[in-house]
Amino acid sequence: MTPTTLTEKMQLTFTDEGFAAFLETLNEPEWLTEIRSAAWARFKELPWPSNRDEEWMRTDIRLFHLEKFFIPSARGEVATGAPVLADGVELAGSAASCDGVASGASQLDSAMADKGVIFGTISELLEDHGDLIQKHLFQVVDGLADRFAALHQATWTSGTFLYVPRNVCVDKPIHTFSTMTDGGCDFSHTLIVLEEGAEATVLAESNNAKDSVGLHCGAIEIVVGDRGNLRYVNLQDWSQKVWHFAHQSAVIGQDTNLQWTVGALGSRLAKVNQHVSLRGKRGTCQVNGVMFTENKQHLSYHTLQHHEKPDCTSDFLYKGALQDQSRTVWRGMIKVDVEAQQTDGYQRNDNLLLSSKARADSIPGLEIEADDVRCTHGSTSGRVDEELIFYAQCRGFTRKEAIRAIVTGFFQQVFDRVTIESVREALALAISRRVRDYD
């Protein structure tokens, strides 16, 4: 990044003047301007999180300077970046964005549109579906939770809205891709609403060119109505110079299924809050997380599985492998409300340390108010087991081949849970590219 390229771009700073000018460019309905303005006020009030905050104790953002970035706005640029999740997959819809601005028009299968499915960038859908968007936007994530959340709620751009009406099944996946130019920002907002009995698969991914500096400050909101079924995949593979802050939440109803797969590979520093609220009886949520870090990456994932109603099942598995001096923080919480009897909650985080300088902090937690539940949690962190290496060596594997096989196998156990073949393949390929030869 050089100052010259930046000055060529339209620049709105994160200041009152910049924010006011930003609102001018949007031409949005009043209710939305109010949401933004409230958040901007909150943003100004709040301090940046610091190591005095429990959630940020292990995540140091002192080197993060918002003034190096500019409010996302139209730039007409196309950045390099390559989506991998939809390779060879027939899609029902797709959308792409660069620096938080839609690149080209979003696509939706006309058969799906005929059934009442709505999909596209939020800004282009506001005119026709404003009421629907207003009903759901910022209802699932708390846009005032912390300074990053407020910043996102005030200045988000682009992002996608998927709406699937009652009992409609979107039988092919929908794909979204976000990328950034060097020095860019991605403040995209994802809103997915499945009505009762609706089904969909969404493949979301973000990446940008190697060594590109950037800031992602985003949010994901998912609503799955009763008997709904959603498979959501989120592959984050930003460059290792991108700051990544996100609040990602889902609320699922009665007899629902949510399978949420997270690939956390990229970014310089990531701080993600992933919440799932099981708000109807017999809801089922499975989360499959894969983290693979290198160099000085720092990924901090905070998950909450909140059982609000009885008879629900939640199963969160995060696996991480760490190289070099990288670091991961995983903090998981199962919260069971007093009403949520017969809860079956599971959370697990396993980490493989591939370097003596890597560090994984794993903090599972339970907060249970009901008295008839089964909640289990566990975590492991360690080096590759020498006995496994020896066994494979006794079968002719070199030490390096043995470690590679063991690391690949470690992640295979997560991939096995993912029911989308293209996703399994893309994740396995991404992992195999990242696995090095270790001595």
């Binding site: 496994l388 006794c394 079968r395 043995a402 030869d437």
Partner: protein, 272 residues
């Protein structure tokens, strides 16, 4: 010329504890040797030392394969040189399918000069071969898709070890209680399979407490190990004697070794 594996005055320690105290043993291709001894005598240690386990420190002596000392070789180099061990308690490698593991293993052992990243043996050829071997061992074809030893029953683990023996076709194989933890039918099947795969072809070093395995694979030599040394070597009648009568005579005849053995037996759990 026949292949020869020769162990000369081998001393092996774990940490500062000496387990093997001068083992001598010579095996020629096609011969079957039984290695017997009470708990803590050093049977498994000998096997693991031959394979090159990093925790087993050879402080003195040599292991010679056709006259070449293999002590400096990595375990994978020993495997590629034709030495195999069926583990008493093989570890699980979650997420790695038996078939993929064995295809890689077979490729490396058959092409000792293969460099990392070079092609594996063709899938078709490999599938045919593993299928035939699995049928012989009465293993379900589903087995190849399971993860290496992951969630295997005791019997499945032992059969998986024999399957690897069949695929890798080593010159010398150490079978460490490959018949333990099996029911009578499974012992018979394992014994017969080992006979078909290796008896009179490979050099077999059979560590066992049972007589079935040796009934199907009668040893040319029986070695009795006690207190980290081979105290007596005989023919198959020695194995029969030990099965029938236990180690009382041996202990009485070699009181010094018996004393060493009793001392280390109390630590046997740590050692194995």
């Amino acid at each position: 010329m026949s292949d020869v594996l020769k162990i000369v005055d081998l001393h092996v320690s774990i940490g500062d504890k000496e387990i093997l105290r001068g083992v001598n043993l010579s095996m020629t291709e096609g011969e079957t040797h039984a290695l017997m001894g009470p708990n803590g005598s050093g049977k498994s240690t000998l096997g693991l030392a031959i394979m090159g386990h990093p925790n087993y420190n050879c402080t003195k002596g040599e292991i010679l394969l056709n006259g070449e000392n293999i002590l400096e070789l990595e375990p994978n180099e020993r495997a590629r040189a034709g030495i195999f061990m069926a583990f008493q308690r093989p570890v699980a490698i979650p997420g790695v399918k038996m078939a993929d593991f064995l295809r890689h293993a077979t490729t490396n052992v058959r092409n000792p000069d293969r460099k990392e990243g070079e092609d594996l043996i063709p899938m078709r050829e490999f599938r045919k071969e593993i299928k035939a071997n699995m049928e012989q061992l009465q293993m379900d074809s589903e087995f190849a898709r399971r993860y290496v030893n992951d969630g295997f029953s005791g019997g499945e683990m032992k059969r998986a070890e024999i399957l690897q023996l069949a695929m890798l076709q080593p010159k010398f194989a150490i079978l460490d209680e490959t018949d333990s933890g099996l029911d009578a039918d499974a012992v018979r099947l394992a014994s017969q399979s080992i006979n078909e795969i290796g008896h009179n072809k490979m050099g077999l070093l059979i560590i066992t407490h049972h007589d079935k395995l040796l009934e199907h694979n009668p040893p040319n030599f029986t070695h009795v190990i006690l207190g980290g040394r081979i105290v007596e070597t005989g023919g198959k009648e020695l194995a029969e004697e030990l099965h029938a009568e236990g180690y009382d005579r041996i202990r009485k005849q070699y009181p010094e070794a018996a004393k060493v053995n009793d001392e280390s037996e109390s630590e046997a759990e740590v050692v194995v």
